[in-house]
């Protein structure tokens, strides 16, 4: 078959000739290659100071969205928890009482909602499963902590604050399902 890249090399197991057997030419050639790398520019991104540019669909730390009027979207249906392959999501549902219509969009809401960030594999299936467009993964990185318990992210860390809304309009699952 014709080679597409013109870089194809046919593998052979013919016995090594003398120059190959003494290894030295190959070793010096290899050392020359590594030596040239000494003077190359490094590719390091010094993380906390600089950050790599993420794609808008990057799967990082989750956010629990509010709608335009600031009401929490999540209705505690549990579909995300069922979809989650790592079983990272747990929640408790509660019924919305009168006077809370400005807090929760649906009649049922999540009283607690926890994601264990050490279990989560950032697959994004929770985002895909959610019928209410309530949970999204974002391009934020989960901060590092010293204690295991600190990776249990509750609603305090997940629900987006009113004064710092998080833009998810570029994500694949935005606006796919009608919001009733």
């Amino acid at each position: 078959m014709q080679s597409l890249s013109n870089r194809k090399k046919v593998v052979s197991d013919k016995p090594m000739n003398f120059m190959e057997k003494i290894y030295l030419p190959a070793i010096l050639g290899g050392m020359w290659i590594t030596f040239k790398h000494l003077f190359r520019k490094n590719n390091t991104v010094k993380y906390p100071e600089e950050q790599r540019v993420f794609a808008p669909v990057y799967r990082g730390m989750h956010v629990l969205k509010r709608d335009e009027q600031g009401r929490e979207n999540c209705t505690a249906c549990g579909l995300c928890a069922v979809a989650c392959p790592a079983e990272a999501i747990t929640m408790e549902a509660a019924e919305r009482v009168k006077g809370e219509e400005n807090l929760y969009r649906e009649e049922k809401y999540a009283a607690t909602y926890d994601i264990n960030m050490l279990r989560c594999i950032f697959c994004g299936l929770c985002e895909e499963a959610c019928p209410k467009e309530a949970i999204f993964l974002t391009d934020r990185i989960v901060p590092s902590e010293f204690e295991r318990e600190d990776f249990l992210f509750g609603k305090d860390k997940l629900v987006e604050p009113m004064n710092a809304r998080i833009d998810v309009t570029k994500r694949q699952h935005t606006g796919q399902r009608g919001t009733k």
């Binding site: 070793i27 290899g30 050392m31 290659i33 590594t34 030596f35 790398h37 520019k41 490094n42 390091t44």
Partner: protein, 342 residues
């Protein structure tokens, strides 16, 4: 022996001891930097400016770790192993001539702790004892991977020590002396042994790589198959000792390579200097050579993949030993011819 000489030697011992440790410490830092540069990275740069406090941070980390002794291990041998490794790598520095004689307050100070007349033999002996640290440590761990590492270390040592010994004999034949001081003085100026014995140098260098367990001959530790080999079960500063001993012996090996083949502290144009200027310049020349070889050791580590064990044995027994022997024979003939023995 008068007390002045004892004090002088003790001071020299203290200085050499701390310099060896300091260089070994910074060799660990430098190794990571070199690895990073070869791989287009930056390397450790967080601890202090350019990361120069990294070895301290590593040391503190090593000390803070839990010092664990497996319950099935032989406790005393387990503790002894790293100690032997460290001890033997450090003790070889005693007979290395570090430079021309220095004159301090009218006293002539030889920059060598002890000028044995069997210097190079002493080094070979100590190096072979050094492998016992690895063997004992690997054996005492009572772990199959450690045992494999220990067995590999010993068989590797046996197969390379021979070729190394023969190549050393070649140099000794040329010099006519086993003393390191004589070997160095014989290569005055630019009259280095490498120009007469390039083959011998290659054999010796390969053997030195194998002796110090550096890549591509790092089969005793071999992370990918033996999970660290002889130091699998070690933790805390005992592990630190093993790793550190490797860097100390790398330093000493570089010094010995420089002495045997690259003229030790000799440098071209040294006849124009005398007295303390010559002494200091010779020390600088010697350390430049040592640092260059440490760099080459690292360079090779980050270039070559690890040898397979049968390739290693093949290289040792079927290539290096015959080459070294033939080289020895030819050298002997040439020396005999020059002396007019035929």
């Amino acid at each position: 022996m008068d007390s002045g000489l004892i004090i002088e030697k003790l001071v020299l011992v203290a200085i050499i001891f701390s310099i060896s440790l300091l260089i070994a410490m910074y060799a660990t830092y430098f190794e990571r930097k070199v690895a990073a540069w070869f791989q287009d990275r930056i390397g450790p740069d967080r601890a202090g400016p350019f990361g120069i406090l990294q070895p301290l941070a590593d040391g503190v980390k090593m000390f803070m770790k839990e010092d664990f002794i497996p319950s099935h291990s032989d406790k005393w041998l387990f503790i002894l192993g790293p100690g032997i490794s460290m001890f033997t790598s450090l003790i070889t520095s005693a007979i290395i001539p570090w430079g021309e004689d220095l004159t301090i307050f009218g006293n002539t100070v030889a920059l060598q702790v002890a000028d044995f007349n069997i210097g190079i033999l002493f080094i070979m002996g100590v190096l072979s004892v050094g492998i016992y640290g690895i063997m004992i440590g690997g054996w005492a761990s009572n772990n199959k991977y450690s045992l494999f590492g220990a067995i590999r270390a010993s068989s590797q040592m046996i197969s390379y020590e021979l070729a190394m010994g023969v190549s050393v004999i070649t140099i000794v034949m040329m010099t006519g002396s086993l003393s390191l001081k004589d070997i160095v003085q014989d290569q005055h100026g630019m009259n280095w042994n490498i120009f007469y014995q390039p083959v011998c140098f290659i054999v010796f260098f390969v053997c030195a790589l194998a002796e110090t367990n550096r890549a591509p001959f790092d089969l005793p530790e071999c992370e990918s198959e033996l999970i660290g080999g002889y130091h699998t079960e070690y933790s805390s500063m005992k592990l630190g000792f093993f790793l550190f001993a490797e860097y100390v012996s790398m330093f000493i090996s570089s010094a010995i390579i420089a002495i045997l083949f690259f003229g030790g502290y000799n440098f071209p144009g040294m006849d124009y200097f005398s007295g303390n200027a010559l002494a200091i310049l010779s020390i600088i020349a010697f350390f430049t050579k040592i640092f260059f070889f440490i760099f080459v050791f690292m360079w090779i580590r980050w270039t070559l993949p690890r040898f397979r064990f049968d390739q290693l044995m093949h290289l040792g027994w079927k290539s290096l030993i015959p080459i070294a022997l033939i080289n020895l024979l030819i050298t002997g003939l040439v020396i005999a011819l020059n002396k007019g023995w035929f």
